[in-house]
């Protein structure tokens, strides 16, 4: 349904300037630089051409088939140009321009009218006030972010354009690659629910990561997120939850509840993996993109130093996972390959002078052992340590059947090793804690995917009795229900209440 948005054969850009640095100009430049193979139609009544492309004076009367219209005009001109695009039978519209809901009531009203107009024509609208979108498979950078990412399997949905550009930059540094990136802006029409469903159905997307500040509709979100999570991992960073929404609640439950808790409950129901910060969003995204889901939660730790191994084991237990116990046969076979001083428990300590071969021996043992579901590998820079060689050796002997997370701790000395890990498709983390946190997300998601089908029981109850009580109370506007009536309602729903009666005189 969003094909004209993600895979347009032709794109018109409205509000194209000949000045580099202006949004309209840069979008055309980015489309060209990204290698977009479809037709690009700049619209400008005053200029004959922009960046070597002939301009259309106005879009309204064009005979050409235009799939996607991108509008980068001042907000006062947007409504009129949306009308023109609809008349030109555009398949989808993206409004980059700002000056809408984020500016106040007048902007919100303008935004509402634009959305209503698009909805009445059944044309999806992205934005306004957004960065645009990218589809690497289609070689389309329809955004004003100049960096075209390499193709990958992670797709990004974001309510903040800046988070998009930060993730693009990070993806470039860590070679993770991007499938699709959508900046939602003010979400006048298309919102997280629509995009989750679209990306869930997208074969290029293996992992969805999202940055959200609010959710347009709770019910729709839970439905869409559950559907998406059932197919692929959905990782969400939800900002803006700390605002103390002080409300008048008369119950204990009401006082303890709040927006933050509600989002937590909604994410848990939907199988959404929650990232608490930007680091976690990127950390989890990389792990889910690169490694398989584990069968269980038994974790083996391989380290070249005692302290970091203990840190990792602590983190594993705290995260609700299990420090695996090696099978006896595995342990004795490994014993032959490691020096006698090495510790063959869990953590496996391959000792400070370990060269790549010891890491390989331990990793191979872990991969063969049925009692191990996932592996954490830790390296610290010591006198004999060869980070780059070790990274390559780990990558070579990793069979890819169990998830492996790697933490090379340090800075300058280990960096060549970290770069090797990333190049080989292994998720790399600067500390055991971050590696284990990402692994925990992977383990919890794997467990959610295997959950039994939800069966909500229906108890036989006396619904009509409750209906009568509530109707009477609402009619007389007595909204606080005290002990006596509350107990009657609960009794009608099968609760046991103490024997009792309302005494109105002193006789027994």
């Amino acid at each position: 349904m969003l094909t004209p948005l993600f895979y347009p054969e032709s794109i018109a850009v409205l509000g194209v300037s000949r000045t580099p640095g202006k949004v309209g100009h840069d979008i055309v430049a980015n489309l060209l630089a990204g290698g977009y193979a479809g037709r690009i139609i700049p619209v400008n009544p005053a200029a004959p051409e922009v960046l070597g492309l002939p301009c259309l004076a106005e879009i309204r009367k064009t005979k050409e088939k235009i799939d996607l219209c991108i509008i980068a005009l001042p907000s006062s001109m947007v409504l009129e140009s949306v009308r023109d695009c609809l008349e030109a039978r555009a398949g989808a519209i993206a409004v980059i321009s700002s000056g809408f809901k984020e500016t106040g009531a007048e902007g919100a009203e303008l935004q509402r009218r634009i959305a209503e107009l698009c909805q009445s024509h059944k044309v999806p609208l992205l934005g306004p006030n957004c960065l645009g979108l990218i589809n690497t498979e289609h070689r389309m950078n329809a955004s004003f972010a100049s960096r075209m990412p390499s193709p990958g399997c992670i797709s990004v949905i974001s309510q903040s354009g800046a988070i998009c550009t930060a993730l693009l930059d990070l993806a470039a540094a860590r070679h993770t690659g991007i499938a699709k990136m959508v900046s939602m802006g003010n979400k006048a029409d298309l919102n997280e629910g629509d995009l989750l469903i679209a990306l869930a159905a997208d074969p290029q997307t293996k992992v969805i990561i999202a940055y959200l500040e609010d959710i347009a509709c709770g019910d729709e979100f839970v439905k869409a997120a559950t559907e998406a999570s059932s197919k692929k991992p959905v990782i969400i960073l939800k900002a803006g939850t700390t605002v103390a929404g002080q409300k008048a609640a008369s119950s204990h439950t009401g006082v303890l509840a709040g927006e933050e808790i509600a989002y937590g409950a909604a994410f848990m129901r939907s199988g959404v993996i929650r990232a608490d910060n930007f680091e976690a969003l990127a950390d989890y995204g990389a792990l889910f993109a690169m490694q398989p889901l584990p069968k269980g939660k038994r974790v083996l730790i391989i380290t070249n130093a005692g302290g970091p191994g203990t840190m990792a084991a602590d983190a594993v237990e705290k995260a609700g996972m299990i420090v695996a116990t090696l099978d006896r046969n595995t342990a004795s076979a490994l014993r032959q390959k490691l020096p006698s001083a090495a510790s063959i428990g869990n953590p496996i300590d391959v000792l400070g002078d370990a060269e790549p071969d010891r890491y390989v021996a331990a990793l191979e043992a872990a991969q063969e052992d049925e009692a191990v579901d996932a592996v954490v590998i830790i390296l610290t820079p010591q006198a004999m340590t060869k980070p780059a060689e070790t990274a390559r050796a780990i990558a070579r002997s990793n069979k890819g059947e169990k998830p492996v997370v790697v933490a090379f701790m340090g800075g300058a000395d280990v960096m060549p090793g970290r770069d090797e890990l990333v190049a080989a498709g292994l998720p790399d983390y600067p500390s055991p804690e971050r590696a284990v946190a990402a692994l925990q997300a992977l383990v919890e998601y794997a467990a959610w995917r295997k959950r039994p089908p939800r069966m909500v029981a229906r108890f036989p109850v006396n619904r009509r009795r409750v209906e009568r009580i509530i109707t009477r109370r609402l009619r007389t506007n007595r909204l606080q229900i005290g002990e006596v009536k509350a107990k009657s309602i609960l009794a009608a729903y099968g609760f046991q209440i103490p024997q009792g009666y309302l005494a109105t005189n002193g006789s027994t």
Partner: protein, 160 residues
């Protein structure tokens, strides 16, 4: 109170005192209830979130809820597995299970109660808030009892 006469005397005494100290009070009556056997006090409740609808809460009564805020919330409707999961994800679960010679309480009874308020608040969007506090839970095999409960309604126009 150990006899009907004692209850009648207490009734008269209370009415007399109320008439003296708060003559403006309008009294519907005095609720007389059978004394409950002892048990563990827990709270189960519901708060309707404007975005996500009814959210169920579970917590162990007293300081566990009031001070330590050791509670869990789940979106309604819940399954039996999710109700059990709600109990297990509180820190006070160790107490519910029983420890050091103390017998555990009837976990199935609490899970059942949570599912029943899940059904009630899903059936009736007019209920904005609900507290069963305390919900008194005995040993395994007994049935928990509602010792006190409150609800707040909202007019149907705003209900969702």
């Amino acid at each position: 109170m150990t006899s009907g006469d004692a209850v009648a005397d207490a009734y008269d005494l209370m009415m007399l005192r109320i008439a003296q100290r708060a003559p403006e009070a309008w009294i519907e009556g005095i609720y007389v209830e059978k004394m409950l056997s002892r048990g563990l006090e827990v709270i189960i409740g519901m708060n309707r979130d404007p975005q996500f609808g009814p959210m169920l809460m579970f917590g162990l009564g007293g300081i566990f809820v009031e001070v330590m805020k050791d509670v869990t919330f789940y979106l309604a409707p819940i399954t039996n597995e999710e109700a059990i999961q709600m109990l297990m994800s509180t820190r006070s679960y160790e107490i519910l299970k029983g420890k050091r010679g103390h017998k555990g309480v009837d976990l199935a009874g609490i899970a059942n109660g949570l599912q029943r308020i899940s059904q009630l608040t899903t059936d009736f969007p007019q209920i904005a808030e609900l507290d069963i506090n305390p919900f008194i839970v005995g040993e395994t095999g007994t049935e928990p009892v509602v010792a006190d409960a409150r609800m707040t309604l909202q007019s149907f126009e705003v209900a969702r």
